[in-house]
């Protein structure tokens, strides 16, 4: 199953452990994480469910292309990293 890691700076603000979840897209995987940790959702996504402006999500080393709907496809072996974008300072 895909594994999701969160930047340590996020983990210092809220509950954001490494998670192994089901899913075939970034959206499905993140939704599975948020089902376990509801508070985490608003730290990663904005009010309309898009990736926050200064958050960046990598799948197997590549930044996702669909930041609004999170439809990027993931594999069972994928490693997903939710990081701070340097654009945010």
């Amino acid at each position: 199953m895909p594994t999701i890691h969160f930047t340590a700076n996020l983990a210092s603000q809220t509950t954001a452990p490494v998670c192994t979840v089901d899913g075939t897209t970034v959206r499905e995987a993140l939704d599975a994480v948020f089902a376990q940790h509801p508070t985490l959702r608003s730290y990663v996504l904005d009010d309309q469910g898009a990736t926050r402006q200064h958050v960046i999500v990598f799948v197997d080393g590549t930044a996702i292309s669909d930041r609004r709907r999170l439809t990027d496809v993931i594999q069972p072996t994928s490693e997903i990293f939710v990081m701070q974008a340097l654009s945010g300072g």
Binding site: N9, L10, S42, Y43, Q48, V55, G88
Partner: protein, 368 residues
């Protein structure tokens, strides 16, 4: 006597306390994170803080032990934008106004127990009836066609920075919008009316200068003793109303300046108000490098600069709209600057003492 002062700053929530030896800084919470708005709720002692992470957005926290410990509560959130909802295009930017919380810019207690009102950029008003456990967007205002005229004022998006709840009538609210003027509700937010005859905007073409829907009231204050008497520090001047905000008179005798952001009124004496003047909108520093607080004690007939204890040479402090507060007795005031100084007066502004010159930029000052 009030003995606690809370400061929302660029780098956290800072507390100060009054002891026998005077005021001193005692604690910081949320170190490193912006705190643009806070509310010490006198009704039940809860302290609320909007905490704005640079990367992870705004969160809402509450403390029931005066800041010793915190719990995260729900944050005002815009609902999913319906596919058929028309875009509201910002007049100045010609970009759609997002349905996404950018900043908490106003937070006030409502009339009922646990009732809170929250104003945000981009121009949302939110209502909670359960001490921030949940929030509802006030759609009557969000969907008002008048919102299409709102503009950002010092920010990319318009925002609600002032919320006044009438102590005589719990269903009457006034809000201030930069830039969208003054809006009144007499049915606890179910419907709204844009008011403000006489408010003038220098920043608009002449034929729109008196349009109440595009005004930039930096801050609005009324006295609990007489909520019909209202002062407004506006982008290009100071305005005074004695009929609850329907009609306004422009003040031309401010001393030393009619520019600034903050204004507070004496809670018991509607003839007395304080401002913190700067030079003008394109030169946002203290006049002549000499910091002062400006007070009227006679309803605007005259204004006096209060300088004792404030730096009078090479002082370039700017004081934002939420950074001046006064206690219920009208005697103790505090203000904080964008360059990290905070001053306190315990004699109605006659003289001041500096709490600190070493703080982060100050965004919000409130006694608790």
């Amino acid at each position: 006597m009030i003995t606690k002062l809370y400061l929302g700053t660029r780098k956290g929530l800072i507390e100060a306390e009054r002891s026998a030896a005077g005021w001193h800084v005692t604690r910081i919470s949320f170190l490193g994170v912006q705190v643009p708005m806070l509310l010490p709720d006198a009704r039940d002692g809860t302290l609320y803080a909007a905490v704005e992470h640079g990367h992870f957005g705004t969160k809402f926290h509450a403390s029931r032990d005066a800041g010793a410990s915190w719990e995260e509560r729900a944050c005002p959130t815009f609902p999913p934008k319906p596919d058929d909802a028309p875009e509201v295009i910002g007049m100045a930017t010609q970009q759609p106004i997002p349905w996404d919380l950018k900043k908490v810019w106003a937070l006030e207690a409502g009339a009922a127990a646990g009732e809170l009102w929250c104003g945000t950029l981009p121009g949302g008003l939110f209502h909670s009836l359960d001490s921030g456990a949940s929030w509802r967007l006030v759609e009557s205002l969000w969907n008002d066609p008048g919102r299409a005229k709102w503009m950002g004022g010092g920010a990319e998006w318009p925002g609600i920075h002032t919320i006044l709840v009438d102590p005589r009538n719990r269903h009457r609210l006034l809000i201030g919008v930069s830039c969208g003027g003054v809006w009144e509700s007499t049915d606890n937010g179910a419907s709204w009316r844009n008011i403000g005859e006489g408010i003038r905007a220098e920043f608009m073409p002449p034929e729109q200068a008196y349009d109440p829907g595009i005004q930039d009231p930096h801050r609005i204050a009324w006295s609990a003793a007489d909520p019909d008497t209202i002062w407004m520090q506006h982008h290009n001047g100071i305005f005074h109303s004695t009929d609850g905000g329907q009609k306004w008179r422009e003040i031309t005798n401010a001393n030393p300046s009619n520019f600034g952001f903050a204004v507070v009124m004496h809670p018991q004496d509607p003839q007395t108000a304080w401002f913190v003047p700067g030079i003008k909108d394109e030169l946002r520093v203290a006049c002549d490098g000499a910091l002062c607080v400006m007070r009227t004690s006679n309803g605007g007939q005259t204004f006096e600069p209060l300088r004792q204890g404030l730096p009078q040479e090479h002082a370039y402090h700017l004081v934002y709209r939420h950074c001046l507060d006064v206690t219920g007795d009208g005697r103790t005031l505090a203000f904080g600057s964008t360059t990290g100084s905070v001053w306190i007066s315990e004699n109605g502004g006659d003289s001041w003492e500096r709490l600190s010159a070493d703080l982060p930029p100050v965004y919000c000052v409130r006694f608790g």
